[in-house]
Symmetry: C2
Subunit: 200 residues, 2 copies
């Protein structure tokens, strides 16, 4: 048997898992298919992860870390940092559209998530922003980003048949199209960041 050749590891497993989800979607993802992609039997995965749920948590973690990196590279200005995080979050949804719902649905209380929050809130405190304010705006902005990204990933095909029966929607639909998404996201985000600036 060709054992010990594929060199399984937690990192490789979750990386290949993400690749598989990206390529074929969450529904099609199974431990058996992951095994094939890794070159091992499905059960070998269970040495590194207690369950499929555990593995998916690890995949989410990998994605969170990629956002956390943005905080390091950001300027010292907290508003700017929050903006950068918001954009990174949305970019993540575009880069991994089929994995993103995982991130939006799942509770994440892993160490790397905390490390991310620590950097973000540490920066806020260093700039004299009150804990209450930073907590408020973090929740508001992150909720907005999460919801917005999720919405744009599940786009309705603007059924023309329906539009005939719903004239008001027909009129407004011009401003609901995909070409408007960037602008509206920016609009809503800046609206919130303006309020943050004003609150100081």
């Amino acid at each position: 048997m060709a054992r010990r050749k594929v060199e399984l590891s937690p990192e490789r497993i979750r990386t290949v898992a993400l690749e598989l989800i990206d390529r074929h979607g969450l529904d099609a993802f199974s431990t058996r298919k992951l095994g094939i992609a890794l070159g091992c039997e499905a059960m070998a995965i269970y040495w590194y992860y207690r369950s499929k749920e555990d593995l998916l948590d690890a995949v989410v973690d990998e994605l969170v870390v990629s956002i956390a990196r943005v905080v390091d590279e950001a300027s010292t200005d907290w508003v700017g940092t929050l903006r950068a995080v918001a954009h990174a979050y949305r970019k993540l949804a575009h880069d991994h559209p089929r994995a993103f719902p995982l991130l939006a649905t799942r509770r994440f209380s892993s160490a790397s998530t905390f490390a991310f929050l620590e950097k973000l809130f540490g920066l806020a405190r260093a700039q004299g922003i009150s804990d209450r304010t930073s907590a408020q705006f973090y929740r508001v902005v992150s909720s907005y980003c999460s919801g917005f990204a999720l919405n744009e990933l599940a786009p309705q095909p603007t059924s023309l048949a329906h539009l005939k029966k719903f004239p008001a929607v027909a009129h407004v639909s011009k401003w609901l199209g995909e070409d408007q998404l960037d602008g509206i996201f920016e609009f809503g985000l800046e609206l919130q960041l303006d309020a943050l600036r004003a609150s100081r």
Copy 2:
């Protein structure tokens, strides 16, 4: 055999489906268990719905309709209507915490969704709000509500072990607790509605 006695119907099926999801969660929901709850075989469901996905779409629809009703009862003021819808949306998440992720994840382009949007946008037009503005604020506010509700449904248990290692998070965590959710939701919502009022 006791046929034709249980009186199956699309409405009953999707209602019992929602009950089952509410009680035991999405993961535990299966066509077989639904069959047992309905008093029929699993395959009988397929006479009324083409697939499990189809059925879940119908469940989502049922939930959307319950929100649409709010628009009828609302005052003529569009800002007030949008606020009422936002609150109804969050209330839905509290009333059906285990079904809500369906609503947030799934594309809904059903007739009842369009009927809802028609009422909402029709009201906006009647009050002279530009199509662009109503589209913008609808997307922003609905994204915010969706993301906020999803976040509060997946609460992290504020791991005390982690808090020792992350002092900034520990300080801020006071404002991130469940007791703050109502206030923060309101804060973020009004922040957006203020901007809507100001834009006129």
